[in-house]
Symmetry: C2
Subunit: 725 residues, 2 copies
């Protein structure tokens, strides 16, 4: 599964320049071999790159594929593309607001809409009529309407004499001002996006849809067929889709730019395009920072993922209802564990490591050789020093302040894992930050993020006491283990109780489960908050000081790195020109690639699977989990055309956050939907290669066939295929 | 599951005085409240204690239960008790060598006897005739024949002027000499056991049985019904038994002392006895050492168990055969994770922690108040300092030298997890240690342990390349993560390859899978070994130097602690007299207790479950794993007397290593078999309480009924019940 967490989180990251922390949110790509080549001056290119819509790879497409997309072609695809705040991509596929994404992107919404009576996440859902569509608790869709270069204005705000902290504040201020102005002028969500490590700043304006309803989801077992064992593998047999409908003013949204549905999918060897929001790449990191990541950071995250996976698995096995409650978090932890196991494996591959070292050496040589640029070489050392400082700050920052790495949505810092603490933290911070000038606030509390914050804070997502207690007990135990039972903050947090007893007290004692109470608190000022005696809010207040201290120490070092990386990036631009795409930033990008298979251990892996293969795989595993077929699919076999292509691979350059991205052909028709990369694509985190690394998609033909023959959703299929309205 | 690893490992521990490392092998109990009370002078006692057979709790039994076991009664029970080198306890239950233990103790043997064709571990086994019994690959049974006090001789070997290192060597030498002499004189396995933290040394002589055959095992699903969710829980429904037969000279062993089978089990409120080999308790540790364990050591082990559990679970899900290969290691990791989660939870309970602190304070006060003893107070500081040194040594020691914590059998140190490296390490060490005087060797290479070593080294246990590669890749990755990719030893170990590529090279390149090759190498001397070019042996030689260095540094600190603890123990004896039992040492002990239920969250938990409860539990979980019933049990329901008692609890003082211990009544009849403790007994690791903590047993009535009605094993049931032969 590829998945990108909530937009709220993304905003945190972008504005705090938290390179370290944000790296945890995605399959982080490192500079590619092709870019190494670029440094060397060659023009040879694979199907590489996550290109800006205002700087598309026109030359590459023309040279290699003799294809020249028009501005209209690009605008249509841009405006048909949708970003999900629950962490992923999608696209409009009907004039009446139908929007398709992955099941694992929609899972959060399905989970929140479920109860112990209706398990839509597990069992699937289909609204035969519009009146049956289920409104999502807190799902927001964003459509990119315009891009404006605001680099000059942002950069001019930072005077050269400023200290690191002051520079950061000045830049944040300028960004907040631009966003606020734009928001007031256009009414659109307005985000300033930092590109090229601060080489450029673009203002992105989004149309928001916050009335989104669930139309269709298959059984999770079909969306995630093969489970953890098949995750990141190929061949695959997954119907990883989920269909929503956007509404405006209580009516179905009228969509001008939507993709026409091609019910036949792509062909072997066909050129395709991927339009989506890849989360984050780190293709510019220094060798020193990568070594620290390999030896310290990623192992630390894996330690957490392993711990969580074991915790949720053990608890989930105690009853069906437990399993249902933990299901999505559990899958998230498994997914991250597999992803980062692959990432670490790649970084410990000497061939890859040599290429990383060579890439840096070549750039250093080029910088050193240029008298105007050579001062930038010092930046490498500054990064190394800052990284060492960050390692020292990491424990306190990680446990008290840093947002949950890589889980779905914000879940509080490592020491306080759960929905209720999250509310307490957001409320406490919202009230305090509100008293500051907009530009000085922590990112999610700025005016531009107000709607997203309130959406999250006033969510009607169900909260289960037992599940909250389980997670809070474990995370406070983790905290106590890390700092020791004699640590004074640990003692204050536990208040003379065991982690379990304290978690019970906090969870059963707080009123934060009640949306009304949260709204009431949100309306108060800082002075009034002091008089509220709610144990969870009091805990959030207790750790707020130490947490903010850790954040401050962390941000100072990040700012030093930020400036150093900007200096290197500047030198790189001077050498490379603008021929390259910037690192991914969970903003809209265009990738392209050919549908094609690959070789593995001397065996040819064809690009397509089909329904026949699905039934064969189930039979090989005696239809046992996670290879079991839902009853509908057992019964439906006779009606299905078993030769229908099911999943396919292409060599497009994608990453976490691209989940749910539409795959379109040259005619701009929807021919498939990205949902994963193969295991070899985990290597792509470090080195680009199109030898084996592949993006994995569901074929549009499979979607049409399954909707009609298995789910008897002809009305929906007709609407997708434009046969009815 | 309670399980104690191999005897070989136990020998390592006992002789190296590895307090730290051995604590990982058991559910470590800490001093009980009753002992605190004892310090205060009270005589009130619960059913507490793991008593020596040469110093049984006669007074307690007489006072509380008006029962006075005779010397003959004690000798009979002692000699009917059996220690399993695969990690647990058992007892002879027929004149012709039948020996019963837990399924999870026999699991290692069942696993080794299985193949992809016959999965006896999963599916069970029954030899209808003696000729069908399966000889175990490397299982050794020990029966304690005599106990002799050798304290004076051991202690007189240590002159007061000796350095810590020299003292340790002198003591080891004396012990090795005593063991050797005794072995030569009696022909029996002879172990000197350190008791009361070095207050006393007793020589234990064992009769060994190394021709052991499998007679009966139920399906693992019935032995471990409810799986990880029900592990350490009550009520329970587990048939956790496995029956072997001992042979001598190719004939069934003739057993004089065996337990008569009582087919009715015990009654509510009845006094029962448990005779078995509890692994290790740590009821004397200082507050400082326990704080270090709570904050550093146990979290480190849990990190490893979580990592392993996730690794083996993910791999096991890829195919049925993978799951079979990893099954036992996987269950071991889950078991340890649950156990240590409970242990840490207890140490973070402020009530328990206060009791620990008070216990130490009382003892300190009593020592300080006595002019003859008060010099011993300094020992507390020496322990604290040594513990801090050990924390610094821990990473290198743990990854390169320390035996696998808490897995079943020796598996190599943390960095090199797998059977093949284990052989390489054992061979390399055996050859090198052989050249030294017996007393200076590392424990498992002394003459007294020769047979056990060879049993392990020449095992015919199947070795699977894929499983070896999986584990070695992961553990070398763990090693590289811990020390960093730039560490010179990491670089030497990986030899310019990725952990996976290196593991493939090592596993596919070594000849150590071949028993003949291992025997051949074992016959060589150190010079000849240098000329063997086998990649795994070369790796073992490469890390031998650094590993031995880490061991040496570790042992120096352990010896300092050893002496300091001995000083405190000496002072304690002076205060307490001999009224107490010593900490457990995986040697035979006698516990006692009443069959009785308890209260939980205001609910009464009755002491017995029955077969009807089993079927009810399966129905509640829709017969889904891990609550599914094997077909034999579904079919057998009609024939079973559903009111037959199945499992029961008593308040006897037990711990890991007691698994498989017989439960006998006052008539010395077999009425049940220990297989677990409830979740509240995890608290017993820190504080004794008979309020809720309970030992869990299979009722003898259930065994008789199941053998006859479900397994149609009347011949076996008849032999057990003494109806034939």
């Amino acid at each position: 599964m590829k998945k990108y967490p909530s937009v709220t989180l993304a905003i945190f990251l972008r504005i705090t320049f938290a390179v370290l922390e944000s790296a945890m949110l995605f399959r982080s790509f490192l500079p590619t071999l092709a870019m190494v080549t670029t440094i060397g001056g060659s023009l040879a290119r694979a199907d590489e790159g996550m290109w800006l819509f205002n700087n598309p790879p026109l030359q590459q497409l023309k040279t290699k594929y003799h294809f020249e997309p028009t501005p209209q072609w690009l605008e249509h695809l841009q405006k048909a593309s949708v970003r999900f705040n629950s962490g992923g991509s999608g696209s409009f596929v009907s004039a009446n607001g139908l929007c398709i994404t992955n099941h694992h992107v929609g899972a959060d919404a399905l989970q929140k809409a479920s109860s112990d009576e209706h398990n839509y996440l597990r069992d699937g859902f289909y609204a035969k009529t519009q009146s049956e569509e289920i409104k999502c608790a807190d799902l927001e869709l964003n459509v990119l309407m315009s891009i404006e270069d605001v680099t000059t204005r942002v950069k001019s705000s930072v005077k050269s004499a400023l200290s690191a902290e002051a520079a950061s504040k000045a830049r944040d201020n300028a960004i907040a001002e631009i966003e606020k102005e734009s928001k007031e002028k256009t009414g659109l969500r307005s985000d300033v996006v930092k590109l090229y490590q601060g080489g450029a700043y673009h203002l992105y304006c989004y149309k928001r849809y916050d009335d989104v309803r669930i139309v269709f989801a298959p059984e999770q077992q079909m969306a995630f067929y093969g489970g953890d064992p098949d995750n990141f593998e190929y061949p695959r047999f997954d119907l990883d889709i989920c269909i929503f409908r956007a509404y405006e003013n209580g009516q179905t949204a009228k969509i001008d730019n939507y993709l026409n549905w091609n019910p036949h999918g792509p062909s072997d060897g066909e050129l395709t395009f991927v339009s989506g929001s890849p989360g984050r790449t780190d293709r510019q990191l220094t060798v020193d920072e990568l070594a620290d990541r390999r030896d310290r950071e990623v192992p630390g995250w894996l330690n957490l993922f392993n711990r969580r996976e074991v915790l949720l698995n053990a608890w989930g096995q105690r009853s069906f209802e437990n399993a249902r409650r933990a299901r999505e978090d559990f899958f998230g932890d498994q997914n991250n564990r597999k992803r980062y196991d692959g990432y670490v494996a790649a970084l410990f591959d000497p061939e890859i490591w040599r290429a990383i070292e060579q890439r840096e050496q070549k750039l250093r040589d080029a910088i050193s050789a240029n008298p105007k640029l050579k001062a930038a070489i010092d930046a490498y050392d500054r990064i190394k020093k800052a990284q060492a400082e960050l390692a020292g700050i990491a424990p306190r920052y990680g446990y008290l302040e840093q947002e949950r790495p890589l889980t779905v949505g914000y879940r509080g810092p490592r020491a306080f894992y759960g929905t209720l603490f999250k509310y307490a933290r957001l409320l406490t911070r919202a009230i305090e930050e509100r008293g500051k000038p907009n530009g000085e606030r922590i990112a999610p509390f700025r005016d531009s993020a107000k709607e997203s914050l309130e959406l999250e804070l006033f969510s009607t997502e169900p909260v289960y006491d037992d599940y909250e207690i389980l997670r809070l007990t474990d995370s406070m135990t983790d905290f106590a283990e890390k700092f020791g039972g004699n640590d004074s903050l640990v003692k204050q947090v536990l208040a003379g109780k065991s982690p379990h007893a304290r978690a019970v007290e906090l969870v059963t004692g707080t009123k934060l489960k009640d949306v009304g109470f949260r709204k009431d608190i949100y309306g108060k000022d800082a002075a009034a908050l002091q008089n509220i005696h709610d144990p969870m809010l009091e805990l959030a207040r207790l750790i707020d000081g130490p947490a903010r201290e850790a954040r401050k120490a962390h941000d100072v070092q990040e700012e030093i790195k930020e400036q150093a990386y900007a200096e290197i990036a500047k030198a790189r631009f001077a050498i490379e020109g603008t021929s390259n795409y910037p690192d991914a930033t969970f903003t809209l990008r265009l990738s392209y690639g050919t549908v094609r298979g690959y070789e593995e251990d001397g065996k040819k892996i064809p690009p397509f699977t089909n329904f026949a293969g699905l039934y064969q795989r189930a039979a090989e595993h005696h239809n046992q989990p996670p290879f079991d077929l839902p009853p509908r699919w057992v019964d439906g076999k006779a009606k299905l055309n078993l030769n229908t292509p099911f999943n396919f691979v292409s060599d497009a350059d994608i990453i976490g956050g691209n989940s749910g991205s539409p795959v379109v052909n040259k005619a701009n028709e929807f021919v498939g939907i990205i949902f994963d990369g193969n295991i070899q694509s985990l290597v792509l985190d470090c080195i680009f290669s199109d030898k084996q690394a592949r993006a994995v998609s569901v074929d549009s033909a499979a979607i049409s066939e399954a909707l009609r023959e298995v789910y008897r959703a002809d009305t929906l299929a007709d609407e997708l295929e434009g046969k009815k309205k």
